[in-house]
Symmetry: D2
Subunit: 259 residues, 4 copies
């Protein structure tokens, strides 16, 4: 059968990316205690395409990905996938994004009831010839209470759910756990979010938030100071977006830096 | 050209609905002051299909809808669309849903600054032979403050954005404006939502909410009492969903009744 | 601490539903071979609320759900959750919806390459006093080719991805696997969908679809005949929605029946 | 009342962005014939925040935006909004994104039936001191037919709806209409998309697509050649994403260049 994709192209354009998007895949993610957590990942995978070829071989991306079904994955294996794709497609550059919800067990502050909170996470990797760039992304839900509303009101203060979205790059010689980002950044809101709160816990987080008011700008600046202080991180971006409870829109602050 | 859709079907099944979904259409909605507001509507339109025909004529739905582009619409015109569809397709039953964002001007409680708040609305209509059933739906964003959190805490109380979703049926002899549902139901939260709040307004709504704590259950029960008291309404359903600020999930309450 | 939720309400309204929505939970779903598949479920859980109480105890829903984290689930356990909720909240009626993606291994028609296709599934259950109503929902992606376009054109025919959404009720004495619904309904499109297709497979499904043109109305009618013939099923609804490739909207057909 | 936002900050971080997101606003967009089209815009608006201030004044963004309600907008007015924001907030940099659906009338190829197709568009602007950067984005739905499937199959070829997403930058001295991008790029698919097609039109586009097979890589390369040839454009990015009808995922190609 004729290989139409492999036929010679004459437009002279090496495409930066050609590949697949929105593939769902069951994977397992490494957990600090040595075990693995099964996750549902949504994946996009692509490679550059030489000006010589009319089309990429899309089925090879899919084939490579399904070889990883239900297998264990960390940044090391992300690089392996990209190396295999580069080789299989004869590409210079390959790129992947894996988005998944990851659960972390949390104990409530007073009653110590256990439950699981889910965090939207992303592994993204680019392999450019031999250079591998890996980024870890985590979205951390927070509770924030408005400093202005508290200051100007006789009682009460509007508060709301916010999300702190962070992406970091660290070199291949380093490693950062999702749990490290969460445990460092989650305390930067007015209070943490819990799936389950008994009455004594609810009193605790309500009062904690009232005593600890934060603008989205405060959360981002505190996050910047924390991320700067981690010598493993050589690039980060951080955004805090708040579903304002007195408005029908969001407030946000954003900052990005590289070392 | 052969009419494949019109060919005889032998499976003996009269389908309840066949039609189109997710068509975008610019329309104009009647405003109480006599003017019209341009809106962007997402539309689904269908009819039943006799067991005698293999397929419906999908292009006739689209043709009928585009004839209404940029035209003025209220429940009366919704019935006209369905009558035209029934006739054009030889159907017993036709059904439509139009979803759109509708803006209402709001003045803030203290500084009286004007702005526009958008409400997700729905016109839905069913024409079954000569009987026309019209339903009006509105989603009203609210600010609610937790009575439990307030009661048990020394200071503060968690609060959040909620949405009160209401759908009502009224007979052809009656008429209800979107503005009537909004002005009746919006006060049932702890405070109303505004796109724009100056500092004096923010103090006002913060304190108002603190003095007026509401569970989602409270909002729905108060809405039930209000909707029961409107003699034009002969069916309603109402749900209040709250994006809990101390959790990563929603709380909700729901109730439906017919007279 | 005062139980504000438990305080006496005087509005005289027994609410039909009060509960939680959009909780993410890791679960395991029973597979026909006796094993279990880990899934990510999005859950809503509610109960009715007596006119005597001001609010439901939202934390009890969450507590009950987290007790099921990473545990094995089928319709039997869905009933157990609802029984526990009814008891814990003193409710007459409890209701749950669990939505999750479920993977089934598929072999391509010619090259017999294996891959995994994901299906959006739903377990929904209502327990009304002692009566338990369970519904299984599955969304099956299909490839459909337009009979009209094929008939009127000299060559080619437009085709597209469609989704066949089915929900069935069967009594407690019966049991239906997700795999059974998929294997029965998936052949009703012009061709099945595969994550991975080698060139010989692509030729096969292209030609199969061309020889087997289907309107959404055809798919739904064929599904009705199949579902009627399954004596275990005493209610079903079925919809086929097609992302028309020559339009920017969808076409759909819908039918529902009970025995 | 105390200005908490304006209080002195000591963390020494000038934030790159602080502002508002997901505000809905009714606007009017300039049309080539000199008239204006009412649209529903979703807006985000932000400015940088000096290291000296604790928070930005969020209400000023909202106030500025609502001043533009129902007013006429093109790239010139986008700059005016940003200038007003920079001044009002004492910022160096201001940034806006406006997303809206825009309708263009289309006549079908044979029967010349008129209907309206909606395109998702974006105006994005950055004002950095005196330098203004404006980008126009348009998403164009297309019908594409797979060259490989056609080549290897005895009859038929799988085809599907795709979307060509383009963003271009042009200098302040130039101007490009949405209609120009659409009329240039829409012919690059296998066939154009129409909301309404009569039977003679359906035959036409079916056969046109079969004679004009295109990979997503073909569409992007043809778009690159076209965009390069427009001397007004000094930066562009273009992506074609195809909802593969034989798979449950998308294929895509992407390229970006500056002059």
């Amino acid at each position: 059968m004729k290989d139409v994709q492999g036929s010679r192209d004459h437009r002279g354009i090496t495409l930066q990316k050609a590949g697949v998007k929105d593939i769902y895949l069951p994977l397992e993610i490494r957990v600090p205690d040595g075990s693995y957590q099964p996750v549902l990942a949504r994946v996009s995978l692509s490679a550059d395409l030489s000006h010589e070829c009319r089309g990429t071989h899309m089925s090879r991306f899919v084939e490579e990905l399904y070889g990883w079904s239900r297998r264990k994955l960390s940044s090391i294996e992300v690089k392996e996938i990209l190396e295999a794709v580069r080789k299989s497609l004869g590409a210079r550059r390959a790129e992947i994004e894996l988005d998944f919800r990851y659960f972390i067990a949390k104990s409530t502050p007073v009653s110590e009831a256990m439950s699981l909170l889910d965090y939207e996470c992303q592994f993204s990797g680019v392999l450019m010839e031999e250079e591998f760039l890996f980024r870890l992304g985590v979205k951390i839900p927070l509770h924030i209470l408005c400093p202005c509303s508290r200051e100007i009101s006789h009682f009460g203060a509007h508060n709301q759910r916010a999300v702190l979205k962070v992406r970091v790059h660290y070199p291949e010689s380093a490693f950062i756990w999702i749990e490290e980002l969460v445990s460092g950044l989650e305390p930067l809101g007015s209070a943490a979010i819990f799936p389950l709160l008994k009455r004594a816990d609810e009193k605790y987080v309500t009062e904690q938030a009232y005593e600890n008011p934060k603008f989205v700008e405060d959360v981002v600046r505190d996050a910047v100071l924390l991320l700067r202080s981690d010598s493993r991180i050589d690039w980060f971006e951080v955004e805090c977006e708040s579903a304002e409870s007195i408005h029908n829109h969001s407030a946000f602050a954003y900052h990005s830096e590289s070392r």
